[in-house]
């Protein structure tokens, strides 16, 4: 009986109430036609009181209707409101999905769920009642909670949430990540400390951004927050925050610098290496020197070689001398164009940004030949992030001018300033292809993939070298650029190369190597779509076995 009466009686109550007010208003207008108050003071008083009432009533709305915009208030209600139904307990944070609409994070009974767990832990971060927010969850917190009104879609959601808070839901964040590729990257890293980044060259979309070791974002273990944990800093997103010496990977930049300066000569690479002029310099030697030493055989050196062979063989002796010849001014200038010492922003969120750590290029003095030699082979105080190196590969692939890396579909693709001339990029493409066909990256020479790349082996003070592989594919019509690093992985071709090649294989299997059907300008549509509950249920599983381990 109550259910049947509830709505009609409520409507009657409001109806008569409103009727009364309306009639009072009508009678009031009819009886005293705009007779001004005699005292100006009273007129002001009337206005003042009216404004105060209106102000209070609007302020009330910031609690009663838009209270979800106050995090402390929501927290209080979730903890202490004893009402059986309080919309605060039902408000769902928006989900995060990948480029194919696969849900990577969603809310269920006020808990944040990450169906693909560890593969995305660094990128997505976590939203935990105990430990707070991290990653994308932190950077786009307001958007996910439905508090932003920047676009029409967000405004609509905000309004809907005010009117219908039982179904209140935040905005859905759509990423450029391909979930299956990300899962593959994560699997390829096999929890070895390291990172893998894949960029789509045609619009800067970050297709994969994996870091290892990982953690479980649903069950945060307090020990990962203490620096003395058993696993080396699992919270660190190495793809963005890891600062590594680039090793031979920097030779891409030095080669670009040389090509632009018109270098076309030969440099003698003696077997005993090259010692830069000046005091206290150790000789710089090729890696073959050490191999021969270990095998107790004679190393005769590379002899007089040109850029192509020096690059393919990744000759330190060649590049150290090349760097010194190019000089500090050219190297510094090229490094600046390659976005060293500048900020690389991937994502502008509603509550923060996601940016890569600045890659550090210590600016060289004109006399510092030792520094020039060291930095030209990627050693010294030079530090880079994996994302930055992927961007460098993308620059070569794009004819010198890459798109800015972007994480969210809603960020429009944007070209960066050119890193090198198109001519230099074209030559560098061939150099990198040559390095795969005939040089250090021969294990990546898989016919159907057509990879061009550069290995890197970065010496570190503590322990085995870091292994790098930076590449793009296919060489004739580049679609994807990849950088992979495995900490203490030894020789670059041995551990990092299989990760990168595996990623490219997986990308090809997923159809990501096809040329984009549309120009990248049409990417704004659908980027701010809001998820519904039905969509949340529709979670198509990611590729069941994310990429088989490629044989090196």
């Amino acid at each position: 009986m109550l259910d049947a009466l509830n709505i009609p009686l409520t409507i009657l109550f409001f109806l008569f109430c409103f009727w009364t007010i309306a009639l009072i208003f009508i009678y009031g207008r009819a009886s005293s036609p705009a007779r001004p108050l005699r005292s100006a003071g009273l007129r002001w008083l009337l206005r003042g009181v009216f404004i105060l009432f209106l102000g209070f009533y609007l302020y009330q709305a910031t609690w009663q209707l838009a209270g979800f915009a106050r995090p402390g208030f929501m927290d209080f209600m979730r903890k202490y409101s004893r009402r059986q139904v309080n919309p605060a307990k039902e408000m769902a944070r928006g989900s995060i999905c990948d480029r194919n609409g696969v849900v990577l994070a969603f809310s269920e009974n006020l808990r944040r769920r990450y169906p693909y767990g560890r593969s995305f832990c660094h990128l997505l971060g976590y939203a935990d009642p105990m430990f707070g927010l991290a990653g994308l969850e932190a950077a786009d917190n307001a958007f996910l909670d439905g508090l932003t009104v920047a676009s029409k879609g967000e405004l609509g959601r905000f309004g809907m949430n005010i009117l219908n808070r039982r179904e209140a839901e935040g905005n859905r964040l759509c990423l450029t990540i391909d979930g299956r590729l990300q899962a593959a990257a994560s699997a390829l890293l096999r929890e070895r400390p390291g990172a893998a980044v894949a960029l789509r060259t045609s619009d800067g979309s970050v297709l994969a951004l994996a870091s290892a070791p990982s953690f479980d974002p649903e069950k945060l273990d307090p020990s990962i927050f203490s620096p003395a944990g058993s696993v080396p800093s699992p919270l660190l997103n190495r793809a963005l925050q890891g600062a590594y010496p680039p090793g031979s990977v920097i030779k891409i930049m030095v080669a670009a610098c040389a090509l632009e300066s018109g270098f076309d000569g030969l440099i003698d690479c003696p077997p005993e290496g090259y010692t830069p002029p000046g005091r206290y310099h150790q000789p710089i030697r090729d890696h073959e020197y050490y191999e021969h030493q270990r095998r107790k055989t004679e190393w005769s050196g590379l002899g007089r070689i040109g850029l192509e062979k020096g690059f393919a063989r990744s000759s330190n002796v060649f590049f150290a001398q090349l760097g010194v010849r190019l000089g500090s001014r050219r190297l510094n200038e090229t490094a600046a164009r390659f976005l060293f010492n500048s900020k690389l922003e991937l994502f502008q969120g509603s509550s923060g940004i996601i940016a890569a750590r600045q890659s550090a290029w210590p600016v060289l003095e004109p006399e510092d030949r030792g520094g020039m030699a060291q930095q030209s082979i990627g050693q010294g105080a030079l530090l880079v992030t994996p994302l930055h190196m992927a961007l460098v590969a993308a620059a070569v692939a794009c004819g010198g001018q890459p798109y800015a890396p972007r994480l969210a579909e809603r960020t429009p693709p944007q070209l960066l300033e050119p890193m090198m001339t198109p001519a230099a990029a074209e030559k560098l493409k061939l150099l990198m292809r040559h390095a795969v066909e005939h040089g250090t990256g021969r294990s990546a020479n898989i016919k159907e993939l057509n990879i061009a790349g550069k290995t890197g082996t970065a010496q570190v003070p503590d322990g085995t070298d870091h292994a790098w592989f930076v590449c793009f594919a296919p060489v004739d019509r580049p679609a994807i650029a990849v950088a992979a690093i495995v900490e203490h992985g030894g020789y670059g071709a041995a551990s990092a190369l299989p990760v990168a090649v595996g990623l490219i294989k997986q990308a090809k299997a997923l159809g990501l190597m096809e040329p984009p059907p549309e120009p990248p300008a049409g990417h704004e549509s659908g980027s701010r779509q809001n998820g519904t509950k039905a969509e949340r249920a529709l979670q198509a599983p990611l590729a069941s076995s994310p990429g088989k381990e490629p044989k090196p």
Partner: protein, 441 residues
């Protein structure tokens, strides 16, 4: 003074608008009351006792209306309609809170509504047709009476929830609002008539009458009332003198007073802290206001329905925090309706004041209306955390006999003032709705 006397039939027609509005108000309250009853008992009980508050309301409406017709009263009808709607709404909400179920025959609160209406009618009869001017010479005695009353409370009263009450939970401190408004109107009318703009000689009587009650209020630690009265004082000074510098003076006074209170009263300090940093101590000092806000949040735009909320989780729900109950059950929209009725009262009240040629009447009416407006603002502001909690009740709606009686008393006075002397019956006849309708055809 020559006046045309209305005959009874004309008077009946003249108050037709009031009748229509009363009827609509009653229908609205009836729907709400049935809803509350159905929610509470699961149906409509057959005994008449369950409908007693509603019947009392209906009877009060009829009696008042007939009395006013018999009196040939020509005061403001729309003001009265808004008063009646709000009074009915108060009865509705208090029924929902179960106030009338545990009625104690010994307590005045049980009879507050009929008694308040009787008082209102009495005041109308006493002071209508310009007789309210008789109050003017009583300005100083009113201030003395206010001081006396407050002194008596201080001597004989007992503390309860931070305020003083006489035995039987009567808080006669409410009545001083009216007394001090009469005093203020009397003093300020003199200023206006003489065209004086607040010299020291004019300020002296004001200080004489005003300071003693204020000191007694401070001693009682009734800071809410203190704030209310002084806010009204400042505004009235500005209105009467036409000088807005009084507002600046008031702001400065508020700041000094606030600082003094902050340093000398731990009680006020706690409330101030709860207001400024509500999430610093959510389970302690801010618990009340945060629970009230949670209730309003749960209500949302349209509310959970009358009788459907959980006011048991709101502290002091039936008196100080009644606005939160409205917010939860009738939603933001319901709160807007209630505020709209208060605004009607205020607008009509100021219109009554503004239409008067006599400074004393104008100032008295304006004072009464301003007091009501600030009382509403202080109460709802405290509930929605726009202001610190002051313990001021929501007029007509909050539980509390003396508050209701005082409010009716004030509106009786206002209605009496609204019946302007010298108005001819003929001039007023055009307000008859039936005639107006005929004309339209």
């Amino acid at each position: 003074m020559i006046r045309a006397q209305l005959n009874l039939a004309d008077a009946w027609r003249y108050r037709g608008r009031e009748r229509v509005l009363f009827m609509l108000s009653f229908l609205s309250i009836l729907a709400g009351y049935l809803l509350v009853l159905a929610r509470k008992t699961g149906g409509f009980p057959s005994g008449w006792q369950a409908y007693l508050p509603l019947l009392v309301y209906l009877a009060a409406i009829l009696v008042t209306h007939l009395a006013l017709v018999l009196m040939r009263f020509r005061g403001d009808q729309l003001l009265l309609a808004a008063v009646f709607y709000l009074a009915g709404f108060g009865i509705l909400i208090q029924s929902r809170m179960g106030t009338y179920e545990e009625i104690d025959p010994g307590k005045i609160a049980a009879y507050a509504f009929p008694a308040g209406l009787a008082l209102m009618l009495l005041v109308i009869i006493l002071f209508r047709r310009g007789r309210y001017r008789a109050l003017r010479p009583l300005a100083m005695p009113c201030a003395a009476l206010a001081a006396l009353l407050l002194g008596a409370i201080l001597v004989f009263g007992q503390r309860y929830r931070g305020a003083y009450f006489l035995p039987g939970n009567i808080n006669p401190a409410d009545i001083i609002k009216i007394l001090l408004m009469i005093f203020l109107a009397g003093v300020l009318a003199r200023w206006q008539e003489k065209g004086v703009r607040a010299g020291p000689r004019e300020l002296l009587p004001l200080l004489l009458g005003w300071v003693a009650p204020m000191i007694l209020l401070v001693l009682q630690r009734d800071l809410g009332m203190l704030a209310l009265l002084n806010a009204v004082l400042v505004v009235m000074l500005a209105v009467a003198s036409g000088r807005f510098s009084y507002l600046a003076l008031g702001a400065a006074g508020t700041a000094i007073l606030g600082a003094a209170v902050y340093f000398f009263s731990a009680h006020a300090r706690v409330r101030l802290a709860a207001w400024l940093t509500p999430f610093a101590d959510p389970t302690g000092t801010s618990w009340q206001v945060l629970q009230a806000l949670s209730a309003m949040y749960a209500g949302g735009m349209w509310g959970v329905g009358l009788g459907g909320g959980s006011p048991q989780f709101i502290p002091i729900a039936s008196s100080d925090f009644i606005y939160a109950v409205i917010g939860e059950e009738l939603g933001y929209a319901g709160c807007g309706m209630v505020l709209a009725f208060f605004l009607v009262l205020i607008f009509r009240g100021y219109r009554v004041a503004g239409g008067l040629p006599v400074p004393f009447g104008r100032l008295l009416a304006a004072g009464i209306v301003t007091t009501l407006a600030f009382q509403v603002l202080l109460n709802i502001g405290g509930v929605m955390k726009a202001l610190p909690l002051t313990g001021i009740t929501l007029p007509f709606i909050s539980h509390g006999g003396s508050s209701l009686l005082t409010t009716f008393l004030g509106f009786g006075l206002l209605l009496a003032i609204s019946e302007r002397e010298g108005a001819t019956g003929k001039a007023k006849m055009k307000f008859s709705p039936r005639r107006a309708r005929r004309k339209a055809h």
